[in-house]
Amino acid sequence: MADVEKLQGELSELLLVEDPDAGLAWAEETLKGDIGVTDFFNLVFTPAMAAVGDKFGRMEIFLPELMDAADRAKRISEEVLQPMMAASDSDQELIRGKIVMASVKGDLHDIGKNMVVLMLRVNGFEVFDMGVDVAPRDILDKAKEVEADIVGLSSLMTTSMPYMKECVELRNGFGLKGNFSVIVGGAPITAEYTAEIGADSFGKNAVEAVERCLALLDRPAIE
C-alpha cells in the first residue's frame, strides 16, 4: 500500500509550486501506481487540499497562492479523477456539498467572502459564488436552481445584515427550510444574531466557516 501521508505532503507542496502543471502530472503518475482512485481521492487529494487551507489559516500562504491551489486542484479533479472514476463505475462523491455564496444586498465587500469561497473549494465543496450586493430573491433562486445544500451569506455592514434575515424568511416562507441550511458570516455577525434571524450556523472567519459547513452536512472534519 502506498504511503498516503507522504503522498499528501507531496501533493500539498505541488499545489503551491511555480509550475501550474506539476500537481496534475504528479497525480497522473501516482495513479499509475498501487493506489486506487477512490483511496487517492479520500486519503491523498482531499487531505492535501485541506492542508493548503490550513496553511492559509495560519497565514503561511496568502490569497493568491490559495487561488492558484484551488485552480490546480480543480484541474486535477476534472482532468484526472473524474474520468477515472467514471471509467471505474465508482459511486464516490467528488464533492462534499454544494454551497451558494454571496455578499448580501448593499454590501460591496468581496475579499472576505472570496476567502471563504476558496477555503470551501480547497476543502472539497462545490461553490457557486454569486458575488457582492446580491438581492435575497436572487440568492434563493440560485439555491433552488443548483439544489444547494447550504447558502452562505456574508455581510460586513449592519445596514446589510437585515438582508440576511430576509433570505432566511424567504427560504422559510417558500417552504424550503428542509432543502438547504443558511450559514452567515462577517465581522459584525454573532451567534446571538444568527439565532435571532433563524439562520442555521455562523462562521467567525474563513477557517471556521469550513468547519461549520462540514458540521451542517454532518461530515467529519478532514484529518
Partner: protein
C-alpha cells in the same frame, strides 16, 4: 484644470476603458501586478523592526506603487471597464492635491497640514466610534463623550444600530432616514459639548449614494465637514462611489478617500499591503479628487489594524507619502480590544506611535473592538490615542520602534481572545459624562507605564 473637468474626464474613462472580467482583474491586474512590482523593486521588510527606517526601501515602495497603478488601473464594477492612468496623469494629480486645508468652523476650525517623517509638529487627531453600531438611546451620550475631548480636531460618528426602532436597510428609504437621523443626533451631541464647529466625518449611515446625497445638503453635513468616499478592496470603484464624489465636489466639500486593503489578500503580505495602500491612495486622488486619504488595513481573521505586519506596512506608507509627496494622509487605530481593558490602550500606543513618527498628517481612532460590538466605545480611548500621537511627534523612528515593540508585547498574548471589554454605560458615569474611576485608573496606569518606556506623554 477645474475639478469638474477632471471628474468628467474620469467619467469618460469609465465608459470607454477596456472591458475586463472581474476575476481576471483580481488575478492578473492585482495579485500578479503586486507580485511583479515586489520582485522588480526588491521589496522586503525588516522583520526585526515594526517601524521600517530604510529610506531607500521606502522610496522603492513608492515607485513600485506608481508602477503597479499604471499597469493595474482601477476596476469599475458597474461597467466592468478599467479606468487607467498614465504616469503623467498621476504626477498631475499629485501636484493638484492640497497640502493644507481648513476643516471645521469658527473656534473649532483646524488647519490640516502635511507632515514629515519624525516631524516634531503633532498630527491632527481624529476620533469617534467610527462606524461602531450604537443603540439609539446611547447615541447622543456616546457621541458627546467624544465631542467633549479637547484633543479631538475632527469627529467620526458611529452607525445607528436601528433607526426609529427599525433595522436599517442599505439602498432603501430607511438609509435616507437613518442618514438624517445621524446628522440630527450628531448635531445634538456637538451642541451639548459646545463644539458645533468641529468637522464631522460622514455620512456613516450612507452605505450607498442615497444617504450621502441626502444628508450632505441643506441642514445636513456642511462643506467644512469631511465627506467620506471609499475605494473598494482591491482597487475597485462603482457609480455609487463616483456619485458621492461628484456630489461632494459640487458642494465644495472636504473629501476624504479611504481604502482598506486586506492583509493576506490579493496583495499578499505586509509588502503587498503597503503597495496597495499607496496605489489606492493615488487612485483615489485621480478619480475622487479628495482633500485627504486614509487607510485602516485589515487583518483577515482578527479584523484589526494593530498586528505587527500591518503596522510595518503603515510605517512604510506614512514615510513614503511624506518623503515623496505633499498628500494629506491618515491611519486608523482599530484594535481588537474594547473599553476598560489595558490591551486596548497598549494597541493605541503601538498604532498611534507608528502613525505619528512616520509622518502621517492625522491619527484617527479608536475603532474599539474592531467596531462591531454595540456601544463598546468611549471618548477616553480616543483621548489616549491622540495623546500618544502628540507625544510621539518628534521621536526618531528608532525610538518609536522600541516603544511600539514593547506595546505589542503587552497585547499580543490576548489578541486571539478579542477582549471587547465593557460597554459605554459601564465605562462612563453618564450623570457627569466622565469615565468611571476604574476606567480612568486603567488609563492612568498604562499612561504611567508608557512614560517609563520613554514616550513623553503629559
Amino acid at each position: 484644470m477645474q475639478k469638474i473637468d477632471r471628474l468628467l474626464k474620469v467619467i469618460d474613462k469609465v465608459y470607454s476603458g477596456p472591458i475586463v472580467n472581474e476575476k481576471e482583474f483580481d488575478h492578473q491586474n492585482v495579485a500578479a501586478g503586486v507580485a511583479r512590482v515586489i520582485e522588480k523593486y526588491q521589496i522586503a521588510f525588516n522583520k526585526e523592526q515594526i517601524i521600517q527606517s530604510d529610506d531607500k526601501l521606502i522610496d522603492r515602495v513608492w515607485e513600485a506603487a506608481i508602477d503597479f497603478l499604471v499597469g493595474c488601473g482601477i476596476y469599475h464594477t458597474d461597467t466592468q471597464r478599467l479606468i487607467k492612468f498614465s504616469r503623467q496623469e498621476i504626477k498631475a494629480a499629485l501636484t493638484a492635491a492640497p497640502s493644507d486645508v481648513t476643516i471645521g468652523l469658527g473656534a473649532d476650525a483646524r488647519q490640516f497640514k502635511t507632515r514629515q517623517v519624525e516631524d516634531p509638529r503633532p498630527p491632527l487627531v481624529g476620533g469617534g466610534p467610527i462606524g461602531t453600531p450604537l443603540s439609539e438611546d446611547q447615541y447622543v451620550p456616546i457621541m458627546q463623550s467624544y465631542f467633549q475631548e479637547p484633543i479631538l480636531d475632527i469627529v467620526v460618528p458611529g452607525t445607528l444600530a436601528t433607526s426609529y426602532g427599525r433595522q436599517v436597510r442599505a439602498r432603501s428609504p430607511l438609509e435616507v432616514i437613518a442618514s438624517w437621523q445621524e446628522v440630527d443626533l450628531v448635531q445634538e451631541a456637538a451642541a451639548k459639548a459646545d463644539r458645533t464647529g468641529l468637522s464631522v466625518m460622514g455620512v456613516e449611515m450612507a452605505m450607498s449614494d442615497l444617504g450621502h446625497l441626502s444628508a450632505i445638503s441643506r441642514g445636513g453635513y456642511r462643506p467644512e465637514d469631511t465627506h467620506i468616499v471609499a475605494l473598494i478592496s482591491e482597487m475597485k470603484t462603482n457609480n455609487d462611489l463616483l456619485n458621492k464624489a461628484a456630489h461632494s465636489l459640487r458642494q465644495e466639500g472636504v473629501i476624504l478617500g479611504f481604502y482598506n486593503p486586506i492583509l493576506g489578500g490579493l496583495g499578499g503580505g505586509a509588502e503587498g499591503v503597503a503597495v496597495l495602500i499607496l496605489a489606492g491612495w493615488l487612485a483615489m486622488h485621480l478619480i475622487y479628487l479628495p482633500t485627504s486619504v486614509e487607510s485602516c488595513p485589515t487583518h483577515p481573521f482578527l479584523s484589526n489594524s494593530t498586528t505587527p505586519d500591518i503596522m510595518r506596512a503603515i510605517s512604510v506608507v506614512g514615510a513614503a507619502v511624506s518623503r515623496n509627496s505633499h498628500l494629506l494622509s491618515e491611519f486608523m487605530t482599530s484594535p481588537v480590544s474594547g473599553p476598560g481593558t489595558e490591551s486596548l490602550l497598549f494597541e493605541c500606543v503601538a498604532m498611534a506611535t507608528v502613525v505619528s513618527a512616520c509622518g502621517a498628517s492625522r491619527a484617527l481612532g479608536v475603532r474599539s473592538g474592531v467596531g462591531v460590538v454595540e456601544n463598546h466605545c468611549t471618548g477616553l480611548e480616543t483621548r489616549f490615542n491622540g495623546e500618544v500621537a502628540h507625544a510621539a511627534a518628534g521621536l526618531s523612528r528608532t525610538q518609536a520602534d522600541e516603544i511600539v515593540r514593547q506595546a505589542i508585547e503587552q497585547y499580543k498574548p490576548v489578541m486571539d481572545q478579542k477582549p471587547v471589554g465593557i460597554p459605554f454605560s459601564a465605562a462612563y458615569d453618564t450623570e457627569i459624562m466622565q469615565p468611571t474611576r476604574a476606567w480612568l485608573d486603567t488609563y492612568e496606569q498604562v499612561k504611567g507605564e508608557v512614560i517609563n518606556w520613554g514616550l513623553p506623554m503629559e
